[in-house]
Amino acid sequence: MANVEFQSISKTFDQQNILKSVDLKIKSGEFLVLVGPSGCGKSTLLRLLAGLEQPTSGEILIDGRNVKGVQPKDRGLAMVFQSYALYPHLTVKENLGFALTLNKTPAHEMEKKIQEVAEILRLTKLLSRKPGQLSGGQRQRVALGRSLVKNPKIILFDEPLSNLDAALRSRMRYEIKKIHQKTKSTMIYVTHDQTEATTLGDRIAILNSGKIIQLGTAQEIFNKPVNKFVAGFVGSPEMNILPAEFLGHKNIDFGIRPDDIQIGDGTAQASFELEEYMGSHYMIYARFQGQLLRITRSQSVSKKTGDLIPLNFNMAKAHFFDRVSELRTNS
């Protein structure tokens, strides 16, 4: 366990500002998720912490110690990569023990640690195989095991589940969460998948264009997005955002989540377009004030395209954003 602090971190690549004076404190043992669209700088932040890149300006502290010039191997951390990054010429066992071999861990101790991790991640029967003989999920478990075997203070995850199918992603999420509960390591997890962000993170940092836009728990971010970008980015299905003129507000946008619109007993009238069966619920598409609305509902509305449906917006859960600054205006 270790705490991490980014102080005014900036990073420039080819005259492009990837990170713009980022300040972020991560508590010891915390599971922090960095989430944002492609190119927002989230992976760069992780690579800077790992020591794989150097910041253009600013400082990074691990347990209060400035790590400028400290080699990746001496930062007490491990990293799990999106492409697994296993060593293809080594067996699973050799992959797991690679870091231990480098720091000259005694053979019996190494064997014990490898067996422990292999058991946790159900890799015992695969130890003699090479990465090329493993499935995607097995490879990612080896990558995870390779990071655990060092007992690192901090584990960094760079979109580790992106290459896996939905079922496997869900299972791996569970495994990662269990490992966090067990090891209490500080974990920093980069993803563009908001399900991973909200299910895994103690706190979530939303990044966009090289800046942290909002930092908070999943509930805080979901219930009180600080601006229109966060409102649109977090939550699935996406929040409906439309001009608030119909409510009598000028230059304000009105945001409402699909769950917070009821069909059947309101004064607002929308034109039904179509509905999708999603298994646990229906997704209704209707046009209101010229905008397409998404509404979730447990039952089908049984309407034809063009039929009018009455809507009731749950105003207690409404969000308002300034149209120019895009910032939240209601508390």
Partner: protein, 271 residues
């Protein structure tokens, strides 16, 4: 039917390409000194290893063999060290003027080797490296280097960066990354490069004839040539020596063929 014709074509080409080898082997086993006469049959009339015996006992062949082995091995080792480090640096680091360096390396390959004979001779003469193995070693290593650097760089470019990042986080320094990770997974490319350097140095004649004049220092291609004279050529000895000379290269090809095949196809498959 299609398969039959494929096999037939392959058979014809196999005979066409292996016949000269068989022919020279045939000549090497004959006791007389005939090469192009009517009595030359597909099978030799009588088997005789005499030519091989003479080549090893009554000529400078063992010395030439030693010289050739020494030079080829040294060229290969030196060439691999230089080309691997250069190619890795050009592939992974932001070297200033990288594009210019690569274009320059490629441009040096446009000149025919014979054109370089005179400048190399003058240079070696000024540095007192004529009749010196080091002179030949420097020339062979430097002339093979551009091709090898390009070849290895192209291969290193296909390796995912993340594997090296993982190794650095796991505890490797840059040299360990190269030694423990990059080189083992680059075996096919390294095998091709090594083979190229080895066979180039092993069979090179023109440059060696300029640099090495002392018969005691000559390499096998020069030695073979010395069996020919304007009055009479020792065809039996020549053939026996030629067979021996071709063995190491053939052996190297057989040993490395596994890597050659994967090396030729690996670049097309990502990761």
């Amino acid at each position: 039917m299609k398969k039959f014709f494929s096999l037939l074509v392959l058979l014809i080409f196999s005979i066409y390409s292996t016949f000269p080898i068989w022919h020279i082997f045939n000549v090497s086993l004959r006791s007389d000194n005939s090469f192009q006469n009517d009595s030359l049959h597909f099978w030799p009339d009588s088997l005789s290893w005499k030519n091989y015996e003479i080549v090893f006992t009554k000529t400078l062949f063992p010395t030439w063999l030693f010289n050739s082995v020494m030079i080829s091995v040294m060229v290969t080792i030196l060439g691999l060290i230089l080309s691997i480090t250069a190619a890795y640096a050009l592939s992974r680091f932001s070297v200033q003027g990288k594009k210019g360096i690569l274009t320059f390396l490629l441009a040096t390959q446009m000149f025919p080797a014979t054109m370089l004979l005179l400048p190399f001779y003058i240079l070696l003469s000024q540095f007192h490296l004529l009749n010196n193995f080091w002179g030949l070693l420097i020339i062979y290593s430097s002339s093979a280097l551009p091709f090898c650097v390009w070849q290895l760089k192209s291969y290193f470019d296909t390796l995912p960066f993340e594997i090296e990042d993982a190794a650095r986080v796991d505890g490797c320094n840059r040299w360990q990354v190269l030694w423990k990770i990059v080189l083992p997974i680059s075996k096919p490319a390294i095998a091709i490069t090594a083979l190229f350097q080895l066979t180039t140095a092993w069979s090179e004649y023109a440059m060696a004839s300029v640099v090495l004049q002392d018969p005691q220092m000559q390499t096998l291609p020069l030695g073979l040539k010395s069996f020919q004279s304007s009055l009479a050529t020792e065809w039996g000895l020549y053939a026996a020596a030629a067979v021996i000379v071709s063995l190491p290269a053939t052996l190297a090809f057989i040993l490395l063929s596994r890597y050659l095949i994967s090396g030729l196809t690996l670049g097309s498959v990502k990761g």
